[in-house]
């Protein structure tokens, strides 16, 4: 790809806030809190829509140079193609000088997933099965992923210390009124099947305000449990604790 053509594509992508990946032969200069230069070599430059800039060498998991979000990007062209990422405060300039461009691609990327740092809902379920007393003393799980008629699956189905059936629904985020309604439908299915109404517990880090009223309305119980605590329980289960009683 010739440099002029590449420069045009890069400018377009930056203007339309696309995720930009440029592969080429480049030199890198940095001036700011320190200064550094990196001679010519084949590398991958990434420019993110928020103004983050990363340069990766062919090996290693960390970028060799980078600029944080908010950098202003400029593209200059003479006999070489120069990309500058500037920050004002602190004053920092990352200058990337291309002698060859192998490829330029840009994308409109969408990623709204939540980063599950501690535990997934599946991990939370494992933690409860490993240590049912975190729900309440005397709680005994009987089945997980139990079918509730044809409307779905109950996360954990069990009995309490008084022998009453318990339907447990697990959420790793705050419970919503939609979650409450879903649980109510499970309760009705179980009531149809067993002829008596089970207890129902939503296990989540918290409850949305709008759902709190519905909990009371439908007689659904809430038990606070965070993914983080579940991660701790799973970790303890693998470690020394289970031997040190």
């Amino acid at each position: 790809m010739n440099l002029a053509e590449a420069a045009e594509r890069i400018r377009m992508a930056i203007r339309s806030k696309e995720f930009l990946v440029i592969v080429g032969r480049m030199e890198v200069n940095y001036e700011g809190r320190a200064s550094s230069t990196l001679g010519s070599g084949d590398r991958v430059l990434m420019i993110k829509p928020d103004g983050s800039v990363l340069i990766h060498r062919p090996t290693g998991y960390e970028p060799v140079n980078w600029q944080p979000p908010g950098s202003k990007i400029e593209v200059l062209l003479d006999d070489r193609l120069v990309i500058e990422a500037r920050r004002v405060k602190p004053r920092e300039i990352l200058r990337i000088i291309f002698s060859k461009i192998y490829d330029v691609s840009s994308y409109k990327l969408r990623d709204e997933a939540e980063f599950a740092m501690y535990a997934t809902e599946e991990d939370m379920r494992k933690a409860i099965l490993m240590k049912p007393s975190i729900i309440e003393d005397g709680f005994k799980p009987i089945e997980r992923e139990r079918k509730a008629g044809d409307i779905g699956f109950i996360d954990i189905f069990g009995v309490d210390s008084a022998g009453r059936l318990v339907v447990v629904e697990i959420k790793r985020r705050n419970a919503t009124s939609e979650d409450v309604k879903q649980l109510v439908r499970y309760v009705e299915k179980i009531e149809e099947e067993f002829g008596k109404r089970p207890r129902a517990i939503i296990v989540a880090p918290g409850v949305q305000r709008s759902a709190a009223r519905e909990l009371e309305l439908y007689g659904i119980e809430f038990k606070a449990l965070s993914p983080r605590r579940c991660a701790e329980i799973l970790r303890e289960g693998k470690g020394l604790e289970r031997f040190l009683k």
Binding site: R235, G237, K238, G239, L240, F243, L244
Partner: protein, 254 residues
């Protein structure tokens, strides 16, 4: 409340702290008239260290009441690394000021260096040595164990340790192949075996190595205690103190 302890050798204390650091980076010491103690687990709760240095290890030991001191062991090590051979070490801690003072004095008493370490917020520490029962016990040369663990590391991250009435066996299996070290009861590396039957469990080589390496500069032998699929206890006999570890086994499917 305060505490003051003078040890003839700064190097020795430095080696002890390296051995504690194998398990924890931040530790809470309980200090009383009898000595200083620390019982702690690593952040993943796989290993535990049970450390005690009794007041008899000190040339001078003053402790009023009972106190707790939480320090970053890696920060403490930065100071202790500055100790030269033959230097004595005096530790003094003022609970109110939350400062630990380390005084290093050379053999002739001509130079005194004082380091002050800010201690951390005290967290309630574990104080009871866990009690576990074991079906087998072997007293083995520490270098033989260190080598066996490292050899196992060539093929795997885990090693199966077996104690039977005749030998201590380390067996590691990996994609590359297998490594087995057998330390026979008749051989020079094994001092004693007490076992009626064969017991075994799998352990992380990483944890074993982290513990055995620093402890090997403090003791020539290690007492290994084991039951099938239970934690292993490694005790390193040290003068005027205790240095013991527990490591959780790896159980298939767990």
């Amino acid at each position: 409340m305060s505490f003051r302890m003078r040890l003839p050798s700064a190097d020795y204390f430095s080696d002890l702290m390296k051995a504690v650091q194998a398990v924890v980076d931040e530790g809470t010491f309980k200090i009383d008239q009898e000595g200083m103690k620390l019982i702690a687990m690593d952040p993943a709760h796989i290993s535990l260290v049970d450390f005690e240095l009794s007041s008899s290890a000190a040339e001078e030991y003053v402790c009023e009441g009972e106190l707790q001191m939480t320090v970053s062991i890696s920060e403490l090590m930065k100071f202790l690394k500055r100790a030269k051979k033959g230097e004595s070490l005096t530790l003094s801690y003022d609970e109110g000021a939350k400062k630990l003072e380390l005084t290093l004095v050379d053999a002739t008493g001509s130079r005194e260096k004082i380091f002050t370490l800010n201690t951390l917020e005290t967290v309630e520490a574990r104080s009871v040595t866990p009690r576990l029962s074991f079906d087998a016990k072997a007293r083995v040369g520490v270098d033989a164990v260190k080598d066996a663990v490292r050899d196992s590391g060539v093929v795997s991250d885990y090693v199966k340790i077996t104690i039977n009435p005749d030998a201590v066996v380390f067996l590691a299996k990996g994609e590359l192949g297998t490594v087995q070290t057998k330390l026979s009861k008749m051989g020079a590396a094994v001092y004693e075996i007490e076992a009626d039957k064969e017991v075994w469990a799998h352990f992380s080589i990483n944890y074993l190595d982290k513990i055995v390496k620093p402890a090997s500069s403090l003791s020539d032998e290690v007492v290994m205690q084991l039951s099938t699929n239970k934690p292993i206890k490694l005790s390193f006999p040290i003068p005027s103190g205790r240095l013991e570890y527990l490591i959780a086994p790896r159980i298939e499917g767990a």
